[in-house]
Amino acid sequence: MRLWDEGAGAMALAWARPILGGMAPALHPQPLPSGRPHPDRWIKVQPEGLYVEPGGFHIDPVRPVERAVVTHGHSDHARPGNRHVLATPATLAIMAQRMGEAAPASTQPLEYGEPIRIGDVLVRLVPAGHVLGSAQVVLEHAGSRVVVSGDYKRRLDRTCAPFEPVPCDVFVTEATFGLPVFRHPPDLGEVEKLLHSMALFPERSHVVGAYALGKCQRVITLLRAAGYDRPVYLHGALEPLCTLYGRFGVELGELRPATVAAREELKGALVLAPPAAATDRWARRLSDPVVAMASGWMRVRQRARQRGVELPLVISDHADWDELTQTLEDVGAPEVWVTHGREEALVHHATRRGIRARALALIGFEEEDLEEAAVKGEGARGKGA
């Protein structure tokens, strides 16, 4: 039974097709003509999160709701307890994997680009380029289009479909790295730093702190692209999602468990572990490890220092400042809402570019600091930065 649309999915599709076909939208949509309700009349910020009123559903709710559209599998976006969940097949698989019994019983997969009518809203999911399965939610209602981008990035990532800019009237964006000090250098240069250190200290293990979902697999694919073909050793918490990525066709090469038994084998090896474990007792099984961390926060020295990181790698699954500002240009929305992160700077920038912008101040997303996530032991489950 479909809980999302009163009719069948096929019917929604049939209804949607001609509209999509005839809808070559202007890159810079005009201001709303009178008579069209402004989107802030039908999308509301509630304690539960962003609520799409005419569709009767929330997007990435932080508290349990009746119906949730989930953009991606990171634990601050995909939370347990929602009655009905709609997401991409990969996101649903990730949720099932991570939540186990707490995974939602009632789910509906929706492929990228496939339109569906929910209540009085036409909904599409479009790749966000953040992690496997991550999606932007494209909402159309009463003649306006709103895009809720979830978390996203713009650079190449072999583990997921690339971000697709969708022209819209209102663009809802994150701002995790919404300050001009955050400019992620090219990924391959960062990976070369790691390989260089491994060549310099061949007797030391290199342990890279990386979130289980997305960052871990991305680092591995980057290493493979740089020609590293030795086995990569994994902390136990990283294995299930690597297997899942494999099922979705992401090639990761040879992976081995970094068990205590493998102590000798781990000398000089490359080991991936959740950020919290990389600097904790778990890492004692490694011989004199070089602690590396793959995160956008590593751009700021003092952050890296706080974590006791010796080798910071600026590799992020979030858009940096240039990607954020470029995306605002690409979607051409006359209005931007900023959900979470360092929203003040992005609002300031957008305003100066003649875009109406405001912060939604949604709560519950993106612990302000990496270390807080680590303290709570979210390393294994948390989202990547």
């Binding site: 300050l179 010796e310 300031h348």
Partner: protein, 529 residues
């Protein structure tokens, strides 16, 4: 510049002291003169470029970056050099020009005409990458703050050259960057540089705090006691016709204290406490504070806050080095010297006779007058040793005053604490309103800091840039050494050495102390009232 930048980067990320020493040794061994010498000078704070101060750097970045975005970024990053290094917009067309060497930078800054410094710096910033920009900015602002003290850098040099650190300290003040002679000595290619004593600084002898268990193990008969005066430790050097006043880290204060330097009409090296005193009565530390951190001094300051030095020790009498003598003999020499010379604006710090620890404890408790911070204990047989040897000297501060205050504002810290709200402004009740009485940023554990930070975030009522105002709900028991009238604070009072003593999660804010209570703690409050 690249090597220096790589060193700075590696040092920033190296958590262990030994690891830092290893990195420094590598650098000294692998880098040629004069680059390594400039690096050592930078790490020991021996370079200063007058024209490249933080204000000028801010001005420069304002020409390239939106000021609002810069302000938000600086607030987030918490370090000026790092913010500028990261935010600096790169010009692709400059990417191929060669970045400057450290030698070029140092000489360039030295030779450049006033007014053209920032132009030079701007050109360099355009050719360097983020690491290079960071190192350059750290260098020209003269405050590296990368977790390497001057002492650690010298220790690394000593270890690398198999030298005695005390000997390095001894010759240090006769040296000038880029230290070619010092490196030659360390590599066994040259003689030990002349101690260059003259009017140079000699490493000062410092004390450890006295712990309860120390005291019970000490023999009272082996120690002399004297008051620990509440000023700043100084070394007075009058040699070869030169007169210098040094802080305990070897920074020169002579320019700011001509009223001391002008009276050093003798040939000796002395150790003492710099104070402000009027008619022989020591003024609160706050009065001395007005005269510190200044390169020069006004006539009004000389009149209103006359300086005084209370002498503790004598290191040289003429050319005679007394540092090897036991304390009791040096003390006798100091007394004889003082009788003979009678220098103006100076007196002797009297010894405090005592029979046993109990009597001394009672004396310490009774001492509430201005200018006394506590007691010093010095072994009678201790020679004067540079550094902080454990055992011969102890400081025994008098008990702190405490007050229950209410947290009012919090600000993010800097450096390692840049993600935490770690600077706390607290107040007490005046009628129904809170008035701020002080600010503290230590006295809590790392775990408590995490709790405090969370409390601040959850109780913010207003934000002013980096400062958050919080609701009146958390009581902080603050310890401080003393309290003095102050015109700079709205409450009219200023605390000395305030620190968080305890976090009173249990205590309701309305039960915190009142301003009247604090006012009664002012030294001499009864007499004045």
């Amino acid at each position: 510049m690249n090597r220096f930048a790589a060193l700075i980067d590696a040092l920033v990320f190296m958590p262990s002291r030994n690891g830092k020493i290893r990195l420094l040794i590598d650098h000294f061994a692998e880098t040629p003169d004069p680059e390594r010498g400039w690096a050592l000078a930078a790490l020991t704070g021996s370079l200063s470029f007058r024209e490249a101060k933080p204000a000028a750097i801010r001005q420069l970045v304002a020409t390239r970056v939106d000021p609002e975005l810069f302000a938000l970024s600086y607030d987030y990053v918490g370090d000026l050099a790092e913010t500028v290094a990261l935010i600096w917009p790169e010009r692709p067309e400059r990417a191929n020009s060669l970045p400057p060497s450290l030698d070029e930078v140092v000489r360039g800054l030295h030779d450049v005409k006033r007014g053209q410094v920032m132009e030079l710096v701007e050109g360099w910033l355009d050719t360097l990458d983020a690491s290079g920009r960071f190192a350059l900015l750290k260098l020209i602002t003269g405050s590296l703050r990368i977790g390497v003290s001057a002492r650690l850098a010298k220790t690394a040099l000593a270890e690398w050259g198999k030298l005695d650190i005390a000997e390095v300290e001894e010759v240090w003040h006769g040296l000038t960057p880029p230290y070619a002679g010092l490196f030659a000595w360390a590599e066994g290619r040259g003689e030990r540089p002349a101690a260059g004593h003259g009017a140079g600084f000699r490493p000062m002898m410092l004390s450890h705090p006295l712990e309860e268990e120390d005291r019970t193990a000490l023999d009272p008969a082996a120690y002399c006691a004297e008051w620990k005066w509440d000023g700043i430790r100084v070394q007075l050097v009058a040699r070869d016709g030169q007169r210098r006043v040094y802080s305990r880290t070897g920074d020169e204060l002579s320019g700011a204290f001509p009223d001391v330097a002008d009276h050093m009409l003798f040939d000796a090296v002395l150790d003492g406490e710099l104070l402000v005193a009027r008619d022989g009565v020591v003024a609160p530390f706050n009065d001395l504070q007005q005269r510190l951190n200044r390169k020069s001094v006004t006539a009004a300051m000389l009149r209103d806050g006359p300086a005084w030095v209370r002498l503790y020790d004598i290191l040289f009498d003429g050319g005679e080095d007394l540092r090897g003598l036991p304390f009791s003999e040096r003390r006798a020499r100091l007394e004889r010297w003082y009788e003979a010379v009678r220098p103006r604006r100076m007196d002797l710090s009297p010894l405090v006779p005592f029979q046993g620890w109990e009597q001394l404890a009672a004396l310490r408790e009774g001492a509430r007058e201005n200018g006394i911070e506590g007691l010093m204990l010095k072994r009678r047989d201790s020679p004067y040793l540079g550094g902080r040897p454990k055992g011969p000297w102890f400081k025994w501060k008098r008990g702190a005053l405490t007050l229950d205050t209410v947290l009012m504002y919090a600000q993010r810290g800097h450096g390692k604490r840049s993600s935490f709200y770690s600077d706390f402004t607290f107040g007490v009740w005046r009628g129904a309103e809170l008035v701020p009485v002080g600010k503290a940023y230590f006295g809590f554990t790392d775990a408590e800091l995490v709790e405090l930070d969370r409390w601040v975030r959850n109780h913010t009522v207003r934000k002013y840039g980096p400062v958050r105002e919080v609701s009146a709900g958390l009581v902080l028991e603050v310890a401080f050494d003393s309290v003095h009238p102050s015109t700079r604070h709205k409450s009219g009072l200023a605390m000395r050495f305030p620190r968080i003593h305890r976090i009173r999660w249990d205590k309701p804010a309305p039960e915190a102390d009142r301003l009247e209570t604090l006012a009664r703690m002012v030294v001499g409050a009864d007499a004045a009232a």
